[in-house]
Structure formats: C-alpha cells, structure tokens
C-alpha cells in the first residue's frame, strides 16, 4: 500500500492564492478509476516513455510499482469517494514535460503493458496543453521551495507512520499545510475538466 520512497513533489501545495495544477482528469477517466479501484484497491499512475505503449500513463495498484528518488510526483487526481491518486513520472522525463499541463482521459483501445484498465477494453490517454505563464510562475515557486529528497521520503510512509512522524509535523510547521496526505482517508471534491 505504501509509496514510501520517492523523489520530489512537483505539484502545487494547497495554500491561499495558489490554484495551478500540473495534472487533472476527465469525468470519463474519473468514472473508470472508480470502477478500477473497486477491483484493484487504491491506484496510482506512472507516466511511461519510450516505444510501443510508451508516452502513455500506466495505472497500477498503489505499491505495485515502486516509485523512487528518480521520480517526481506531479500531483494527485481527485475523484469523489476515492483516496487521492498520485501521478508520477521520472525526473528526467519531467525535465522535458514540465511546461505542459496533463489531463488523464480514457479512450477505447486494447492497451498493453501492465496497466490495470486494459482488460476493460479501454486505455488511459494523456491530453496536454501548455501551462500559462501565471501557472508556471506558481508551480516553479513551489519547485524552488521543495525540501531535500530524503526529508520527503519520510513524509510518504504509510498513513499509520506518516500521521505520527515527527518529520511530517516539522515540515507542516515550517512550510505550509499539505492539501492532501497519502493516508487514503482524506478525500476532496472532484476537480474535473470539462
């Protein structure tokens, strides 16, 4: 269940005046995630690169795919009734993607790889747009604020650990409140695109 060790967070924190996100999802993707979560439990995404089914988001049960220090979390997808769904990609790939906003959509298809939606006859798909100057300014300021990687790893231990971890408390005190923890207990209103 845990995504205990991973790299920096590139998503914007929830603080007054900040609204920019790097990743969101369509209602169709949200509906599919509801169905898939019922089958597989809490889910996460890792954006793939390379050939065949590369350049496509891969959806796995949380804990199946080990994210690590080489990955960035772009944000969390909010679906009513589900725990936040982390969206990750490798840092090296993020270097080439960071000026774009991603929307997880779903299309009919066969899919491939080990992504959990393929047996449903559908495939998650990324639709992209350029981030605006204002969004980039907001998101870049967050990137500059990000703490050292090892500190961050501790914040994303499983809920029972993270909820009481001193390091988490420290981080919350010295910076700003977190919008979402990964304790999979919190949920928030859906933020869907049209």
């Amino acid at each position: 269940m845990s995504q205990a060790i991973r790299g920096p967070d590139a998503g914007a924190p929830d603080r007054v005046g900040m609204s920019a996100t790097r990743v969101t999802l369509t209602p169709a993707a949200a509906g599919l995630l509801l169905r898939l979560t019922a089958i597989h439990g809490p889910l996460m995404f890792h954006q793939s690169g390379g050939c065949c089914d590369g350049s496509a988001p891969m959806c796995y049960p949380v804990g199946e795919f080990r994210v690590g220090g080489s990955d960035v979390r772009l944000g969390e997808l909010a679906v009513d009734g589900l725990p936040p769904i982390g969206f990750y990609m490798s840092q090296s790939q993020f270097g080439y993607w960071k000026h774009t906003h991603l929307t997880v959509d779903v299309v009919p298809g066969r899919g491939s790889g080990f992504s959990v939606e393929a047996p449903e006859g559908v495939r998650f798909l990324i639709r992209s747009r350029l981030l605006t100057e204002a969004e980039l300014a907001e998101l870049d300021s967050w990137l500059e604020l990000r703490p050292p990687r090892k500190t961050w790893a501790n914040r994303h231990r499983p809920a029972r650990v993270a909820g009481t971890a001193p390091i988490l408390m420290w981080w919350r005190l010295v910076t700003q409140p977190r919008r979402h923890t990964e304790d999979h207990r919190s949920s928030r209103p859906a933020q869907l695109t049209n």
Partner: protein, 507 residues
C-alpha cells in the same frame, strides 16, 4: 498490383479460426477461467477472432509444461536444435504468404512489408541462430601445467518472453530463436493488440516442436504478463516495450534475482549534413528516402527516425524535397501490395498520435505536411489511419522528445558538427540514429559520438541478422539479432580440473 482478399473472404490465402486458446505442452488448451477477448483488425476496426484471456493459473500450466520439457531439450545436441530451427524456417518460408497476410490483418501494416521484410527476416533469423549455435565453442584456460579451467555454455532453463505489437511475429522470432538455440524452454506472451498472427505460425509448425519447449499464453499484461514476469519459476525475462513497464519488470526480476533484457524504444535522430545535397544524384535520392523512413511501418518502430536534424546550409531545399517525397507515400488498404502506409495498430495508438499532434501545434511547431487522421474510405473508414505528418520546431519540444510511435516526424536544423551531435544526444533514449554525409570521416566520427546502440551511416531501417541491436541510456540493455544474444540465454559453467596426483598443500 495485387490486392489480397481479406481473411474470412473467399479467395483469402489465410483464414483465422474463430477462437485461439493457449498453446501449452504441444496442445491447444482452454484458459482455465474460460475467458476470451476479442481481437479486431486495425485495417477496418472489426473483430475477427477471439483469444484466450489468460490468468496466473494458465501461466502456471505453461510453466509446468516448460519445466517438464526443459531438461531433455537442454541436453539435445546443438545439431538437433539447429535442425529444428532450420525446419521451422523452411516451414515458415513455404507458407510465407499466408503468415504475412495474417500479420498484416492483425497489425495493420502493409502486406508489402510483411511479405518482403517481416516474415523473410524472421525466416533468416531462425537460420542465423541455427548457424551460430553450431559454430559456438566453449573455451579452456590452462591455469598451470596440471590445472585447466573449462568453460561450457549451458541453457538457463525456462525463460519468459513478452512480445510487442509492432512486429508481432518478427519480434517473437527475435526472442525465440536465440532462446531455443541455447537450449531453453520458453513461455511467451504476445501483445494483446496483436495476439492472433503468431498462432497462424504456431499451427504450421506445431508438429515440429517438442512438447512444452514453446508455450504461448495470451492475455493482458496485468493478468497474464505479471504472473509470468514475476514468477519464481523463470530464469530470465525478456521484454520489448516502454520504460515504465520495463522498470516494473526489472522490479519483479529483482525479487527473483534473475536477469532481464529490455528494449524500450527511443527518439532516433536522423542527421543530414550539408554535403548530402552537393549533387542531385542517386545518393541525394537515397538520402531523401532516408528522411522519409519515419513513415515506415506507420512509425511504429522502436528506431523510427522521428527526429530529422538538417544542416542549415541545405535546410530549406532539403526539407522541401523531403516534404515532396513524403507526399508521394501511398496510404491505403494494407492488403494492397502498392500500399506503403497502412493502419496504426490500435485505436488507443491512433488517439495517442493525434494527442501528440495537438501538443505539437500548441508548442508552436509548424506542420509542413499532414497533421490529421486519414480516412481512406470504404471499409477502411473504421480503421486507424493517420496522415504522414512533418513538424518543424525545436528539439526542446515534446514532439522532439517523446516517441509518438506514429508516422510523425519532427524536423529541426543544426549549425555544425558539434551542434548536430549535441542535439542528437539531447534525448533520454539511445536506441537508433543515422548520419548522412558524403564525407566518410564525418559520418564515422558522428556515428561514434552519438549515444545510441545502432547508428546507420548513409542508410536506415536495415535489420539483418548478425548486426547487434539494442539500446544505450533509457532504451534498455541486451543485444538482440546477433550471436551475442546467445550469452543472454546461457549460463557459463566453469569446470576447474586438476590433472595432478599430488595434494594441494594446504592441510
């Protein structure tokens, strides 16, 4: 011109069965849970057969069969293994047309290519590994007068292989031939987009295969691929695909401490120096064809030359000529032998390509040609066709950095040699590349400086057996298509033998 009849119609050279089960232990076996999934042809978008939707239980059955077969198969003489590969090659060659049309129907690629490239290359690949296993020798090292170290090649045992959908049969043979030559038993999972064509081949050769040496389990990655890749009963896993699944497979392999070979694609640069256009001759014509190679196999090639880097001095004229060459590409029915560009392999692939064309536009890349979904009309309207598309832009754009896996080219210019190498190497990947120049020294130096496993000099898209193929950087590791692949399917046994009667002197 020939137009082959569609499978299922009168006069077709091949007919698919209405259902394919798993090929396990030499027989076709129903999936234990009794589930199947529809397989549609990208040519029309219509379903034409159904295929086993396997689960861990079926993978276990296949592993049982492979383990039962592996010890005896591993003890066969190399002559016997080579003979089997040659007999398979002969059988495939004698049914080449049927297998090629089956491949076209399952994948969407033009039959021109399956008839002239995919299946003939598969045949040759089998014969190549039949040859090299006969020529392979162990070695001995004379440590001192009475102590000799012998090195034997031994098979790994049972291996797993996960095959991509862009060259379903050729990529299966790329993996099967070295594994079988080396004496391994195989459990192979075809891609779910193209699960059927390999069964046309297997049915033709089933009587040649010792039971359990080759086992084919169809299904989805999450349901059948994972149990195979994560099994503690395989001694190696080979995968061709993309980076995230590659990482996941390595993760599973790390749990079992088994070796992995991965081929994960690229974003291959195709570099044209000024001197290419110093004369308007046959070589210039060849270079223009090289520019247009991005559209081969609908761009669904791991080494698709999807970034063209053209030197400033010839940029305008060369790209303009390249556009004209691209405009001459004949897109149409994949079963027509005149067709050069067929269908993308699946609907989600089509959608992905279109989404990339959209972000390319937004990033400010200029479309020189194409840029839309194509509708060839008639029964093809339900299929998945994309116009050959050329973007002009900057190497930092996403269309220059990500493998779109469609007939989409991103073109930019460079100032000089150093600039060319810098742009070429500004990529996460390093699978393929090409350098075009009339100056052999320049071509050689650039070829050595580019961080890629395969660099073509003054040609592209040649994949003969006996030329190593594999990636640098995030494109994976292992070298297929060459005798060195045998090493990836063998253990080295060292026998340390003393020919002395005397104690060693320790105790």
């Amino acid at each position: 011109m020939t137009k082959y009849a569609s499978p299922g119609q009168v006069g077709s050279v091949v007919s698919f069965k209405s259902r394919y089960e798993n090929f396990i232990g030499g027989d076709y076996v129903s999936p234990i849970k009794g589930q199947y999934f529809e397989d549609s042809t990208p040519v029309t978008g219509q379903a034409f057969t159904e295929v086993a939707r396997s689960t861990a239980e079926d993978v276990d059955l296949a592993l049982d069969a492979a383990h039962a077969a592996a010890p005896a198969w591993g003890r066969t003489s190399v002559a016997e293994r080579a003979s089997l590969l040659n007999r398979i090659a002969d059988r495939v060659e004698s049914s080449l047309e049927a297998i090629a049309i089956a491949e076209t129907w399952d994948n969407g690629k033009p039959c021109r290519e399956t008839l002239a490239a995919d299946i003939p290359l598969a045949v040759d690949h089998l014969r190549y590994f039949a040859s090299v296993i006969r020529a392979q020798e162990g070695s001995l090292s004379q440590i001192d007068e009475d102590l000799v170290a012998y090195h034997f090649h031994e098979p790994l045992g049972v291996v797993g292989q996960i095959i991509p959908w862009n060259f379903p049969i050729l990529m299966a043979i790329w993996k099967l031939a070295p594994a079988l030559a080396a004496g391994n038993a195989v459990v192979l999972k075809p891609a779910e987009q193209t699960p059927a064509s390999i069964h046309v081949l297997i049915e033709l050769i089933a009587d040649l295969l010792p039971a359990g040496v080759v086992n084919i389990v169809n299904g989805f990655g999450a349901e059948a691929g994972k149990p195979l890749a994560s099994s503690s009963r395989i001694r190696k896993i080979a995968f061709t695909g993309e980076t995230t699944t590659g990482r996941l497979i390595m993760q599973y392999a790390s749990e079992n401490l088994i070796p992995v070979t991965l081929e994960l694609g690229g974003k291959s640069p195709n570099i044209f120096f000024d001197d290419v256009a110093s004369q308007n001759d046959a070589f210039y014509d060849k270079a223009l064809e090289g520019f247009t190679m991005f559209a081969l196999n609908q761009g669904e090639v791991c080494t698709c030359p999807s970034r063209a880097l053209v030197q400033s001095g010839i940029y305008s004229s060369f790209v303009s000529d390249g556009d004209k060459r691209t405009a001459q590409i004949r897109q149409g029915h994949p079963l027509d032998t005149e067709t050069m560009l067929g269908a993308q392999a699946s609907n989600d692939q089509l959608e992905k390509i279109l989404s990339y064309i959209e972000i390319g536009r937004q990033e400010g890349a200029r479309i020189l040609i194409g840029g839309n979904r194509a509708d060839p009309g008639g029964e093809l309207s339900g299929g998945y066709y994309v116009e050959p598309t050329i973007f002009e832009g900057d190497n930092s754009m996403r269309v220059f950095q990500e493998e779109i896996f469609g007939p989409v080219l991103a073109v930019t210019h460079f100032a000089d040699y150093d600039d060319a190498v810098k742009i070429a190497n500004d990529s996460l990947y390093g699978l393929g590349a090409a350098v075009w120049s009339r100056n052999g020294n320049v071509a050689y130096r650039a070829g050595r400086e580019i961080q890629a496993g395969r660099v073509w000099l003054n040609n592209y898209h040649a994949y003969p057996a006996h030329a190593a193929f594999g990636g640098y950087k995030q494109s994976g590791f292992g070298r297929e298509n060459h005798k060195m692949m045998l090493d990836h399917y063998q253990n080295t046994k060292n026998l340390m033998v003393s020919y002395s009667e005397n104690a060693q002197g320790f105790f």
